[in-house]
Amino acid sequence: MAKSSLVSGSIWDEYSDIVVDRMNNPQHQGHITEEEAEAMNATLIVADFGAESCGDAVRLYWAVEKDTDKIVGSKFKSFGCGTAIASSDIMTELCMGKTVDEAVKITNIDVEKAMRDNPDTPAVPPQKMHCSVMAYDVIKKAAATYKGVDAESFEEEFIICECARVTQDTLVDVIKINDLKTVEEIIDFTKAGGFCKSCIKAGGHEAKDIYLIDILKDTREEMERERLTAMANAPKDDKEDFASMSMVQKTRAIDAVVEEYVRPMLIMDGGDMELVDIKEEAGNFDVYIKYLGACSTCSTGSTGTLYAIESTLKQNLDENIRVITL
């Protein structure tokens, strides 16, 4: 929140002059007939793309020259708001003269940038970015129709935020590397979710298979699992870690040392021990144990044997461990 966000302006004020001009006077709206395409020695491609939840729809016509795969005719029809019309118009123009392989590389970011009046100012407000995404999607649809393949085959990675073209892999990496905890942090770091906001959570403009909140939750859970696994697998003589362990982890660490070093020694003399409790007392870790078998009646149970157990735990885990017999 800030002063600027307290008094909201009209979204129309944020449209670039190019957007306004294309909304008012689209240059490439219309259609191409079979006869017209034939006259250009071209194949007619008609592709539709519509966002069902949004209601916007665009139809793209391409005349693709048969010998060169070059788009020699490009027109559109659009049901949508003014920015959808403007985006479609620019998208149609960007396709002209390109081969199908070149056209399919046009992204929604290219469409939006082509509508900017200057390179540093977005052409549309954030919530209108989805209009340029629709323009991008229909290109893929047209190219897929021409090539007889699935439109999704043009996507090498799984895009979560279509407005900013951020992939799932990128999001997971950025969350892990920067230890991101909130969606707001993700938006700051990646711009994903900063535009039409449909990818943040369900209920937005476009329905998604997976949302930022899911990715954040899953990634945080995975990070926690990785952290616990790393702790569990940490070398037993890592004394610094013992103090920061949870009580369960401390118990497991002591058990592990007892199992590896102490118990074999006691069993050799017909005895054993069990861990009863651990208490933190004035910076010390008091480990309460109970002797079993021969140890429970052994004369060195409170002297030499006790010293050996305590030294082993201190050496492997923490200098502040004290062992107390019950």
Partner: protein, 401 residues
């Protein structure tokens, strides 16, 4: 030419209202609570304003009309104070409202829902009306409040307030109605309708912005929403905004007398019908909701193939102000719930244009608007992919008749 057809959003302040308010800024600026004459000099005009407010909605002298900042405050007051007074003690835990209420009710109810209150959001029928029987069926032993609007802001449809009032009285349930879109357009008689509370905002009937009211029937207990001084008999604290109260009173008088309501019904209604008939002569246009029992100034029209915001853009270029519930025009990209309430036709939800007139609109303006609307429809349909390729099976209602 400028043609303002968005009067359900807000209205211009009537110049007579403005004149009444003017002395209270730099001349009669006293605090009404002060003992001295600069303060008390405001009292006669405040009293006169209250007379107009009480007459305007036929409140009994023993009832309260508390001045608020707007209907949003009044609506929040009702919902949250019912929670404080009747739900937190555990005796009741249920509020009934409709899906198509103003966010001042639905958002407040959503908030209480998170606090554990059970809220029933009733749906409207295919005519856009909430049926009284639906309210009757929804009332339970633990229902603390029924809150439904008097007239819908998008369609103008009037809800059966009197019937619902009778049901609530029979069941012993508190009944509140948000009458923001009804006052000045139809007769609002709180005694005849049997409501316990109604909310209203002055700027919807040619009064100033920033002032509204909550009518509370005698004997209805409702904790104050704003605590502080003893203004408004302790029911709503804060120094009285004298100019606004005087303005709202005058606006109420001008909007609710018999002559004014007859003018609304006949003149404004005639202009609305003229506009509506002209648009319905265009193919594939329909009125959303049926055309009976609605406020005389409102029409919500779907123009197939023409997206709402694109239409507004073209109209605005020609000096015409209207409104749309289209998702594309909203900050949160969600379609207006009233549009969604009319079913699963997603295109319908994105083609609705609301025209709302006032007594300041002229026939010349409407003729101009009709001409520009036709031009906009023609241009946008020439671009439209959905209009070009979908079957045209809509028959306009008036033509059909």
């Amino acid at each position: 030419m400028q043609v303002y057809l968005d009067n359900n959003a807000t209205t211009k302040v009537d110049e007579k209202v403005f004149e009444e308010m003017t002395p209270f800024f730099c001349e009669m600026y006293g605090n009404p609570n002060s003992l001295h004459s600069v303060g008390s000099a405001t009292h006669p005009k405040i009293a006169e304003a209250f007379d107009y407010l009480y007459e305007g909605i036929n409140a009994d002298d023993e009832d309260d009309i508390i001045i608020t900042a707007n209907a949003t405050e009044a609506n929040n007051w009702v919902v949250k104070s019912v929670w404080l007074d009747r739900i937190l003690d555990g005796e009741k835990n249920h509020i009934i409202t409709s899906e198509v209420e103003h966010p001042a009710i639905t958002a407040a109810c959503n908030y209480l829902e998170k606090k554990g209150v059970d809220i029933t959001y009733l749906t409207v029928n295919e005519e856009g009306v909430l049926e009284a029987d639906a309210v009757r069926d929804a009332i339970r032993e633990d229902t603390a409040l029924v809150s439904v609007m008097w007239a819908n802001n998008e369609t103008g449809k009037l809800f059966p307030i009197k019937e619902i009032g009778a049901i609530c009285k029979e069941k012993g349930v508190l009944f509140h109605s948000d009458a923001t879109q009804a006052i000045g357009k139809v007769k609002v008689d709180v005694q005849d309708a049997g409501v316990d509370m109604i909310s209203f905002s002055a700027h919807k009937f040619h009064g100033p912005k920033g002032v509204g009211g909550l009518y509370i029937k005698k004997g209805v207990a409702l904790s104050p929403y704003m605590h502080g001084g003893e203004q408004m008999d302790g029911r709503r604290a804060g120094t009285l905004d004298v100019a606004s109260i005087v303005g709202m009173g005058k606006a109420m008088q001008l909007a609710t007398n018999t002559m004014a309501l007859a003018y609304e019904e006949n003149h404004v209604g005639m202009l609305r019908d003229k506009l509506e008939r002209a648009i319905l002569k265009l193919p594939d246009t329909i009125v959303i909701g049926d055309t009976k029992n609605r406020t005389p100034n409102t029409t919500l029209i779907s123009i197939r193939g023409v997206e709402g915001e694109a239409m507004l853009w073209d109209l605005n270029k020609n000096g015409i102000s209207a409104s749309t519930g289209s998702a594309c025009a909203s900050e949160d990209l969600e379609a207006n719930p009233v549009m969604n309430a009319f079913g699963s036709d997603s295109e319908l939800a994105h083609t609705g244009i609301r025209f709302s007139l006032s007594r300041f609109n002229t026939e010349e303006q409407i003729d101009y608007a009709i001409e520009k609307i036709k031009e906009a429809v023609e241009r946008l349909r020439s671009i439209s992919s959905s209009y070009a390729y979908t079957p045209k099976n809509h028959v306009s209602e008036l033509e059909h008749n």
